[in-house]
Symmetry: C2
Subunit: 216 residues, 2 copies
Amino acid sequence: MRSSRAARPVKKPKDQYHHGDLRRALLLAAIRTIQKQGFEALTLRAVGDELGVSRTALYRHFADKSALLTAVAAEGFRMLRVEQVTAWETGGRNVAALMAMGEAYVRFALSNPWHYRVMFGSGFELLASDPELVEEGKGAFQALADALSQLQADGFLRKEEGRTQATFVWAVVHGVAMLAMDGNCEHQGVGAAELTRYSIDRLLTGIVAPCATTPV
Amino acid sequence: MRSSRAARPVKKPKDQYHHGDLRRALLLAAIRTIQKQGFEALTLRAVGDELGVSRTALYRHFADKSALLTAVAAEGFRMLRVEQVTAWETGGRNVAALMAMGEAYVRFALSNPWHYRVMFGSGFELLASDPELVEEGKGAFQALADALSQLQADGFLRKEEGRTQATFVWAVVHGVAMLAMDGNCEHQGVGAAELTRYSIDRLLTGIVAPCATTPV
DNA sequence: ACCTGAACACCGTTCAAGT
DNA sequence: ACCTGAACACCGTTCAAGT
């Protein structure tokens, strides 16, 4: 279908309308705007303008603004998963690598604060049942769950229900990321990097005083 | 000033304009709308209509919509602090009471999901430097910090920098609350109540496997 | 099929005018 | 001082019309 007629200038496919993949272009433009200008700056008009396209062209590729944001969120989970898997694998698939995953998680949120917010559906309605969003969300979760599962098998972690443990670990890095993003920790005089390092330590060891056989 | 002229029907103070305290009425109406209809349903017009007042009357008491939301957030932190202090004091000011605080924290978020979101400035600009917001936010944090501080003194918790430890504990319950609210844990087959209980346990003990002297 | 331009309903905000 | 009604700029969305 695509190359039915042979000799034609392949570069610009006639430029009849615009790019080759407007949907992807719209998605990336939306991410860029959110990243640089924040969530409130994202208007369908601005996205269209940036691509030199009508403000209603978007409706050919997304049902509405909510669908666009859902795609932005799904793309975010994909990016996050890649960084998580990389941290785990290059870190050596051990406890140190798990800690590197935690650091990478918080770093991702702090580097992409607005994008990260969209991923967790803050302040607006996300299409929570969107198949792509669900799949990418599960994928990011699974990267963490797999790491924990192996560390359980290796005897480094408590052996307990995997998804519950994984959700807890996720909640911890998520909470740290949110507080650090909002500046809530700096507000208490605690640096984001310091909070992250401390939190990952205590995630592993807990906050209760060690037993008497261990030096306090 | 208030009772200068004596004999007058005290009930309705002439009804010249409206209520006695429009600012408070606007704040409560906004909270009610957010609570029941969600964040996107909060329009200044709707708030005005609900109180039978012009849509611009609000500008006599709040600089703009952002200022109204900031007041909503501050009120939320005040409510949260009350519940936290209650849990701590009625719980007996011990480790069990700390766990009750954690449960109460998550319960607050799950009972007031939209209000809770506003408190953490999701998706819109909050007046982060607003004195009332800062004060109430610090107050809620302090309730937790005080509890931890006493448990440290009593030897139940690791003795370390108080604000860092408190911020970590806050991050954990915050993260659990967020995931539970979004249904992200149910999505993984983990119940919110189960996640909360487990998380508070592991917050205390950590996830690493106990040392050999303790039964696994 | 894909895109456009005009139009509609809705919103936050401003402002001159009322009491 | 406090509130109102009309007006303005902006937004998401729809739709008939173009290619």
